[in-house]
Structure formats: C-alpha cells, structure tokens
Symmetry: C3
C-alpha cells in the first residue's frame, strides 16, 4: 500500500528502493558491480534514470545500452561484459522473464476505497459481504448480492437481482444489466456492458419484434472482461463465460454463446449468437466467429480470422474464410506466384483453343 | 410486472406458472401427457428443471432429451413418441418458433422507475411529457424535450437542445451529445455515444484544423442503437438512421452517413463518412464500408466484408475487396485448386520458354 | 456564445445572419444576385430552406439544384449561370473548400459550464488551474493536476495522480485510470478508457498471473481520442500517443505501443502490444497491427488491412496478410482471371501426365 506522498509518474512507488543484492537473490542472478546499488522504478534502457532498473535481452538494443543511464541492468550472459555505462549488472538467463517476475515489486497498488461512498445509491434487499467497497455515484439495484471484498467503481451500475462473488471488481462506468451472475475474483473493466438483451428480432407484419431474452449472463470464477466490451445475455439459453477466461477490450459476445474455461479473446474479437467455444481456445485480435459454430478446444485463430464453419480442436486457423493456417499461407504464396503466370497461361490456353 | 419477491436467476418471474393446456392453446399444439403440468421458466434440455419448459427440434439433441428433467417439452411431430423422461410433451410443427412465441410469457419486464430521481440534474427549459422516468445521476441539458414515457437510465447524459419522442429509452451511461433528434420508441443501449462531432480535419500550416460539425444526428422512429456503439453527427449534412433500423453493439457510424429504413447492422460494423446505405440492407458482423459509397437497397454484406466501391441493390457480397458472394467463393475454391497446380505450371512454362 | 433562446435543429445558432456580401468577401467569390441576402444555417441542396447556405460542386447534384429552396448557393464557375431557383449565388473555384472554411461561422459552440459543479467529487491534493470546469458527477482522484481551462465532462473519472495540461477536455463518461499523463489541448471523447492495465498474463501452475503494469499512459499535446476508444497503459514501458495524433471511435491501443506524431487512426483500428507506429502514419478503419511490429513513418494502411510484419516508410499496404497495395490489387485481379482458367489447366495438366 501507498500513502500517496511520493507519486512518481512511471508508476514505481518510490517508497521501497530495492538493491542489486536483493534483485540477484530473487532472480537467481549473478551481480557484476556494486550489490548495494538501489533502484525504485523500472524503465526501458533509453529512458531509464539512475533510480531505474532496466534490461537488455537482445543485441538489437545494444546501442541503447551504450547510452543508458539505468542504475541496474538485467542482462543475459552474452552481455555480461558488454561495454557500457551501467556499472551494476545482474546476469540472468532470461532478462525479460526476470523483469516480469520483478514487476510486482515496483507496482503501486491502487488504493482501495473503503465502505459505501455516501453518494452511492443502494437499492432494497441488497446483501453486502464483508469489506465491500462501493465508490461515488455507483448504483446498486434491488436484491443484489455482493460477496466479501467486492469493489464497485464510480458510476458503475449493478442491475436488480445480480450476484457477484467474493473479490470481484467492477471498474468505473461499467454496466451490469439485471440478473448477471458473476463468480469470485471476476474483473469487469471500465465501460463494459454485461447482460444486455441480445440482438434478436423476428419479422412481423408491422415491422420486427424484439425476441425477449429470458436467459442469464454468467461469468464464472476468475473471468476478466476488458474495457468497453459487451457480453449479451441469453435468449432461450444462457450466455456463459467459462472460469479463468480472459477477454480484452472492445470484444463482442452475442446471446447464447458459451465460451469454455481458460480461453483468451484478444481485443475487438466478435462472437455471433449461439457459437460454442471450447476450453483453452485463443482468438487473435479482430477475429470473428459466425453464429451457431463450434470451435474445438485449444484451437487458435490468428488475428482477423473470419470463421464461417466449425474448427476442429487444437488446430491453428487463419484468414477469410478461415482455413488451417498452413493452407492459408500456402494459398497466399501460390497466389503471388500465379499472378506472374496469368498472362502466359492465358496466351497458351488461347493457342490451345485455336489449335 | 413483478414485485421482486421471488427472483429466479434464469429470468422467469416465478409468479405465473403456465400449464401445458395453456401452452397447447397458444401454440396450436397437441398435448401428450398431463395437461395440468405447469412450468414457470424456460431452459435448454440439459439444464432444465421440472419447473421449466424446454424444446426438442433436432435429432442432434436427442441424447439431451433422454436425460432431461424438464417439466414440459415442445417437440416436433417425429419426436412425439421418442422415449425419454419428459412425461408431458406438446407436439408442434416448429418447436423453436413456438418457443420464441412463448418467451414473452416468461420474460420478466424490468421494473420501471417512476418520475425524476432526486439525484438527477435537469437543466433549464426542459420539457417533460407524461410519465417520464429519469434515473439516478442522469444529466439532462438545457432546452431538452422528452416525450411521454421516455426513460433515461442512470448516468446517461442528454445534451442541450436534444429532442426525444414518446416511449424512447436511453440506457445507463449512454451519451447523447447536444441537439440529437430521436423519434418515438427509439432504444439507445448502455454506453452508446450519439451525436459526437465526427472525425474530420483539414491540414493547416501549423497542424490540422478540426472541421466544425453543423449537421444533426437523427434517429428516426423505432431505431435501436447497441451498447457502446458510436453514431457521429454530420459536418455539412446530417447523419440519419432510418426508421426501424437496428444496430448491434460496438458499431461505428461516421459523419454524414445516411442509413435507410429497416436495416440490420450486426456488431462491430463500421461505416465511413458520407456513405449511403439503402433500405433493408443487412450488414454482417465486422463488415466495413468505405466513405462516400452507396449500398443498394436490400443488399446483404456477409461478416467481415470490406466494401471499397458501390454495391448494387439486392445482391449478396463478401470478402475484401468485396465482390458478389458467389464470385468470392468461386475464387476461394479456385485458389485452393490452383495452389496444387503452381509447381507443374511453372515447370511447364519454363519448358515452353526454353523450347 | 449562445443564450439558448433560438435553438435550431441544424446547429446554426440563428443569432448572426450572414449576408451574401460577407460570404463573398470571406471566400473571395463573386456574387450573382442580391448581396444583401442573408442566411443563418447550412444545409445540403435537397433540404435547405431560404435561411440556409448550400453548395453545388458536381454535376451529379444539378437535379437537386433545380429544386432547391436554399437562400444562397456556393457554385463553381461552370454552374454560375445554371438555371435554377437560387437567385443568389456566390461563384468560387472550390465550393466544398469554401463551405468548410465557412463552417465555423455557423457552428454553435457548446456552452461551457463554469467552475466545479456542486455534485462533483474532488479528491485531496488536487491542483486546479484557472477557469477549470468540472461537470456534474465527475470524480477527480487524489493528487490530480488540471491545467488552465481544463474541462471535465459529466460522469468522467480522472484517476489518482493524473496530470492534464491546459485546455484539455475530457467528455462525458470517459475514464482516465490512475496516473495518466495528458498534454495541452488534448481531447478525450465520451466513454474512452485511457490507462487501463493491459492484457498481459503469464502462465502459472495454478492458472495465469496478471502482469503488473508499471508503465505510464502518455497523451502528448493536441492528441484526440475518439468515443469509446481504449488506450492501455504500459507494462514495462510506456504507452505513448505522439503529439497531434488523432484517433477515431472504438480504437484499441494495447500496452507499450508507441505511436508517433501526426498520425490518423480511423475507427475500430486495433494495435497489439509493443507495436511501434512512426510519425504521420495513416491507418484505415478496422485495420489491425500485430504485436512488436514497426510501421514506418508516413506509411498508409487501407481499411481492414491486417499487418503481420514490418511495413517500410511511406508505402501504402493493404489486405491480409498485408502487402504493398499495388501487389495486393494485382493478386486480386489475377485471382479473378485465374479462376476462369482452373478447369482447362487441370484438364491440360491431366493430359500431360497421361502423355
């Protein structure tokens, strides 16, 4: 925790300097230089100050290393003796991994508000667990249940009858429509819209009729929904996001979709209605999945893939219409080569026809 | 309406059980079993309880039918006698259609708030029709006109001078920029942004100048704008969404675009500036339309289509660059076949050249 | 400024009629007709009233000209004498440019609120410049610094420790996560999410671990972020949007991305983590850029382009996988032609094999 006295714009908290000796111990690295050198932030080589830890993992950044002002640099073994101004180095096998492992040491946790802000509107019949935080101007509908340590951000709305498990967090301005069911440790980022009645209409003589949506919207444990993403509720079935599945920003998940456990959906992915996504599936940015399609477990779709039929488990597919990635790449290469042959082929076939 | 006493997570209201006899009457079906069996919710076969109505329309779900606990099942004629635990069945020609027709019976209408919440901020010169609802923390600008039964959700903003027709609803956290013109029965979902000044700049010596936007943003009767979608106002013309057009989540409509009546825009569609979309056009998810293009009436663009030129009326186009769907599919198939011919062709043409 | 008395739906302020003589002076045009004719709004030919200025730049709109009710029409020289009801015309070389130059005269500036609204929540240690406006229900975190004339819209949140330069505007419902750094004259539109911790996870035995994000999110001077767009903060580096770069609606920029100065990102563009975008790059709508890729300065990517490798400076690329636009178009044309050759080629090669 942080008392806010020494804000640093780069996010280091400036309160707990860490020594080279300490870093070497945590990373299992070898110190070259002064073990008492201390840093209190992290920065890339080109903008690090003497108070910062940095890292050099690839020769392409060697020129930055030559000029860096970083106090300590994590380096891979081949750079242990590389000339450069950084007097203190810590030699580790994988500097990037070591850096990621250290990030939590430099990370300033957001200060948690405590209790229910006096401006928040809390409905009737709401059940609050222990240590729940509700920020300014949040609106909690009737009969909502919030588990222990749930944190509802400013301007968020939690619709009537919704249930949120322990340690779940809803960020600023997110909307949970009525009767959303979220497990424990779920994160809903700013501006996400969860549980809207989906996009379903049936034609009538006098226009179209909206299909009523009686299904639920279920986010299982440890699900994360990115900023401004939209997860619609089910019409005649539920929409379910499986445990541990992580969804990035601006993603659309339509009604009745079922996503398995441990999936990753990158930003701007779109899943049309009633699609089934197996466990451990990875969808690249801007990929789209047609309605009523099944994506097998552990399949990988690369960015912008457009899926119009079922995808078998554990395969990598790409392109539009989506095909196995290897085929897609082979076709793209063939197309490049064939483009050069079109004219001679047309000439040749013309001769054949005349012959 | 619902008094909130008996919330059920699946959205049935639990207050008005419906008997098999009643369902048979409404659907024109034939009862097999006990006409007095009653249900109060809807669920797919695999998770239905004895209190639920379910349906079996396709042989592929027959195994679920064998184990279902559903109280009543709508079945098509060929499954009327299918062995299974569901004692009460209603035989109808199209179980899915029958189900959709019944949804409204099981749907719990959201409880409407009444009047203007004491936290809402209402500007000067605002005209409110009868039975208008304005929820907590909503902000209504000066000189806004709201028709009868308009419902403004929590944290929504309605910009100065906007006019909303009767029965229009703006959901939580949506933003109407100043001077938006919305007809009757319009629905603006959570987080939608309507009437922003569009993305237009002209180069200047000292950078770029934003083009002022003096056009309006007009949503005609019965338009629906999905969650987090963005509809920009016009610069020198209006942006107009025609009557009855339904727009899904995360859609972008740029300045000066005119969309006809009765169109459907699926999620994540993008329409660039000054495009003209005819009546009854259907745009699949993630489709994109270039600026200043005309899409003819009743044209259909499949998902992810990228349109860079005009599309004639009533045709189905797909792919990038968009072409008639049939041509696109033929090319994709040809490409697969040609990929296998590239090497022999290159060899043959090489021989020809040497000859 | 406008006192709100005479609202006009087309956005003209109705307060300052402008005469043909005045328009001719400003545009350097020649008057045909009565120099004292006055207008107070702008509209296209087909819906202009006698109080409106309109323009005719292309023969295709000549039929509208024949019926227009516009009070004054800007016309190019070849239409100076075109028969039509518009008695007063102003002949200019480029009517569209002239129109854009005049827009500011007809544009009704949004009335700026003054001071801090009594419902806004302002944290401890906040530093406010001169003439700052903070609208209803905005939430300003602790230790935030707002420069002169900063304007924070209704329901916006500015996270702890953020710093905003002079004349920056944050529209309704936008979220600045903690420690965002915005320069002067920055515009953040409604519902944009700036500075979220990005989408980064490392596998663990018991699931995945979120990578802490210690980098900043920096918006340099004159940056504009469109409605509902998402700009994530950096993990081990900063996310930086260069000075003067304009970003449209629903765009995603992932962690550690660096975008140069004077770029244009059209709506629904997605940039994956750690990509580097040079100065003056233009990205068409729905274009996607893979992670860790470099786009050279002044490159142009057309709409829906999917970039999976580096793009050299100043080239135009398109398609998926992205290639130089000219090659892409050549391949598309070749594919159309080759589709007609597949069957004869297969037949011919079959004969060859049998021969």
């Amino acid at each position: 925790m942080n008392d806010g006295r020494t804000l640093r714009p780069d996010g280091g908290d400036g309160l707990a300097p860490i020594t080279a000796a300490d870093i070497a111990t945590q990373t299992g690295g070898r110190i070259v230089g002064d073990p008492s050198t201390a840093v209190c932030g992290i920065a890339p080589l080109d903008r690090a100050t003497p108070d910062d830890l940095s890292f050099l993992a690839h020769r392409r950044y060697a020129s930055w290393f030559a000029d860096t002002r970083a106090g300590i640099v994590l380096v891979s073994p081949q750079f242990a003796e590389l000339p450069g101004p950084a007097a203190t180095r810590i030699v580790v096998d994988k500097p990037t991994d070591a850096m990621v492992g250290l990030l939590a040491r430099f990370h300033r946790r957001e200060r948690r508000s405590s209790g229910v802000h006096h401006t928040a509107q809390v409905g009737d019949g709401v059940r609050l667990g222990a240590e729940v935080s509700i920020d300014a101007f949040a609106v909690i509908g009737n009969d909502v249940t919030l588990g222990d340590r749930v944190w509802i951000g400013a301007h968020a709305t939690v619709g009537e009858g919704s249930r949120l498990g322990a340690d779940t967090r809803v960020h600023a301005g997110a909307t949970l429509y009525p009767r959303v069911d979220a497990g424990e440790r779920v994160v809903v980022h700013a501006g996400a819209r969860v549980g809207r009645e989906g996009f379903g209409f049936v034609p009538r003589n006098d226009g179209v009729l909206r299909i009523p949506h009686v299904g639920r919207c279920v986010l299982e444990h440890d699900v994360e929904i990115g900023a401004n993403s939209c997860i619609d509720r089910g019409s005649i079935d539920d929409t379910v996001i499986g445990a541990g599945t992580k969804i990035d920003n601006l993603v659309h998940v339509a009604h009745n979709v079922r996503i398995g456990r441990g999936c990753f959906l990158a930003a701007q992915v779109g899943i049309a209605g009633s699609a089934r996504i197996g466990d451990g599936v990875q969808l690249g940015g801007q990929a789209g999945v047609n309605g009523h399609i099944t994506i097998g477990a552990r399949a990988i779709l690369t960015g912008q893939t457009g899926v119009i039929g079922d995808v078998p488990p554990a395969e990598m597919w790409s392109g539009y219409p989506a095909r196995p990635h290897r085929e897609q790449m082979r076709s793209a290469a063939a197309l490049s080569r064939i483009a050069r042959l079109v004219r001679p082929l047309e000439r040749m076939l013309g001769r054949e026809e005349r012959a």
